[in-house]
């Protein structure tokens, strides 16, 4: 009774299908660095989620390290507007 009511509410409002979820998970798997060519059919959702978590943590760590490095560099170099424009031109 209650399960039927909540199930119908889910199908009306969200319509989450397993197909849709699998599609999103394989799309995510393609983005991850450990995606091997030709092996993409045997993706398990749990493994993809696990890999995604580690990938995000890795990226967070990289950003933190880069922030530390940038703060040290900023400290030693005096970044006036002329230098900022110069650095921008280096990047462009």
């Amino acid at each position: 009774m209650s399960s039927r009511r909540s199930r119908s509410r889910q199908s009306v409002s969200t319509r989450i299908t397993d197909e849709q979820i699998n599609e999103l998970i394989s799309k995510l798997h393609a983005v991850l660095p450990e995606a091997r060519g030709g092996d993409n059919d045997r993706v398990s959702a749990a493994k993809v989620l696990q890999e995604t978590c580690s990938h995000i943590r890795r990226l967070h760590r990289e950003v933190d390290d880069l922030s530390e490095r940038l703060s040290e560099l900023l400290d030693s170099a005096d970044l006036n507007s002329a230098q900022a424009a110069f650095i921008r031109s280096l990047l462009m």
Partner: protein, 218 residues
Amino acid sequence: MEDMGDWNLAGYLKGFWWEESSLRLGMTISNGDGDSAAKDGGRERKRKRRAEPSLVKWKTEGEQKTYSSKLIEALRRVRGSSAAGAASATTDHSRGRAVREAADRALAAAARGRTRWSRAILCGRTLKRRVLPRAGRPKPVGRARAAERSKPPALKTKARVLGRLVPGCRKLPLPSLLEEVSDYIAALEMQVRAMSAIAEALSAVGGAPSAALAEGPM
């Protein structure tokens, strides 16, 4: 000086921004002079009504350059404010944290409010300081039970961990969470690329302080 490069970049960004904003309004327009990224958005527009954040833009050079410029400006402000305060009080970590927050804010701004994680970053930074009292939210028991039945508990816990990693996505259902995650990862990778480039440029410039500081660029 050739302005053509700048004009093309501005035109591309403007065209992309206009197409994306009309995506949100649900208007259907024909792709006149779209680039490949805009065409991708057009194809997906025909499939879904809901605006899907395109992942391609995080890989474009134009987006990275825009982000780098904004970040450099923000870093100059960080430098200024930390120098104004008591220099002895600020440690390396607090300056690093200020840089990290500036980088995240600039990244969230680059997303132009189309994703949940970016909106959460932009309004979360001030709220996080004042620890918000968490009122006990009654969990919707019936709906949670129905949802859990379709997904095994192992997936559920992993999805919850993932939701905690991405800002603003704790109580998101799985499909929306996966979409936010893929956009967040693409954005983070661009952030890493941009910050590495800035660090390289800064170390190249700052390595010779006398030459760099004296007169500025030639």
